[in-house]
């Protein structure tokens, strides 16, 4: 929980607050996995790994890994009491049948209408989609965690994705270092602002039209 007041940690902590008791949750590689640091230890949550685990526990310390037990990102994990192992078909049955309450994913681009592109950059990054398609399309709720802009300062939230989609209209909520934005039938709504960030800054750094709610915008 070091540097817990950095914009990045606040973003992770904010996303963690939407993980509720009793949920079955799948966390993508990278930023989404780091959300775990902010989930209260007493909160009952079932982490799902698409390679066939429910009840994933903390990553194991070097030297105490189980060679047969990795998560979908290749990390040597542990299991919680009550965990289960299953094959890859059952694992995606959980995802597609509505038993996965929430997934948090990374993004190359996310559009104001909820379109997500996070698996392919034609000509430079084409490793295959893995399990991203099903997670994005079928989790009951899909959150994207991303810095608001890329390293060059360009918006990650765009009016329309230029990259091949992972799934259309799948994203419900976007967590960034600057804001929380909700995909609604009316468009993308600025739901919350990070501490010290102005509405004007978020609007300027967002590539999609942003609906500003009436009244004060909550802070996180």
């Amino acid at each position: 929980m070091s540097s817990s007041d950095s914009p990045r940690e606040r973003m992770l902590a904010r996303a963690a607050r939407d993980i509720r008791a009793g949920m079955v949750v799948n966390l993508g590689i990278g930023l989404p996995t780091q959300v775990l640091r902010h989930v209260p230890p007493a909160l009952p949550v079932c982490l799902h790994a698409e390679n066939g685990i429910s009840g994933v526990g903390p990553v194991r310390a070097k030297g105490s890994e189980d060679r047969n037990l990795i998560d979908a990102g290749g990390a040597y994990v542990s299991t919680l009491p009550g965990a289960a192992f299953f094959d890859s078909a059952v694992s995606f049955a959980i995802v597609r049948s509505g038993r996965l309450d929430l997934t948090l994913l990374g993004a190359f681009e996310v559009a104001g209408n909820g379109d997500l592109a996070n698996w392919m950059i034609p000509g430079s990054f084409t490793p295959g989609a893995g399990g991203a398609i099903e997670l994005a399309q079928k989790a009951r709720r899909v959150g994207v965690i991303t810095t608001h802009t890329d390293k060059a300062g360009r918006p990650k939230i765009v009016a329309s994705c230029s990259l091949p989609l992972t799934a259309p209209g799948c994203v419900d909520r976007i967590y960034t270092d600057l804001a929380v934005c909700d995909v609604t039938p009316d468009g993308l709504v600025l739901a919350e602002l990070a501490a010290g960030v102005t509405t004007a800054e978020v609007v300027a750094k967002t590539g999609a039209p942003l609906i500003l709610p009436a009244g004060e915008i909550p802070r996180f």
Binding site: C46, L80, P81, G82, A84, R96, R99
Partner: protein
Amino acid sequence: MRLDSRIIDAARAVADIPDGASVMVGGFGVPGTPFTLIRALVDHGARDLTIIKNDANESGMGIDLLLQSGQMARLITSHIGLNANMVAAMNESRVAVEFVPQGILAERIRTGGAGMAAFLSDIGIGTRMAEGKQRVTMPDGRSYLVEPALRADFALIHAAAADGFGNLRFAASARNFNPLMAMAARTTIAEAECVLPLGGLDPDDIHTPGPFVDRVVALPESLPEVYGVVKR
């Protein structure tokens, strides 16, 4: 991190099953039939039910009680030959019975549980089983039947062992349709002969993972006689 507990008593477990609900019921003959949950559903009284079960049990036990109580409006099944009451109810049109070949029934339920829309199969082509079914011609030029997924509002499951999170284990031939139905319902209710604390089941030994199971009902240590060997 930790996992939550879903233990509840039988009456409360079925209390929100509404009139008109579809209910999958595990079991093949006596083994794997959730007699206690069925009894609770009879006591609860929901009517106009669509029951999905491999067979109709025998007279006086299992889903025959839902027939006798007048709660069952429709039955989707593979075989009812051991229950003369059900055959009579079908012949008198008191219950609408839809027959599905056993392996197709199993796979349609699994397809529902896996979140797919349908599967394509050649089972039954050239028989009256194929009549009225949608067909698709695949690139190989062959024609297949579209077998739509089956899902239900509720599933009633009988397990040998469970933990509080809903991980389930079945015994011998009592497994049958139970793991499939556990996947295919919006709300899955499992009765278990033995409810263990979390961690009491080895993760490699679990037949149905907890994320599919919403409610766990512990059976009494001394099981009612209906669960026993059938005397003929």
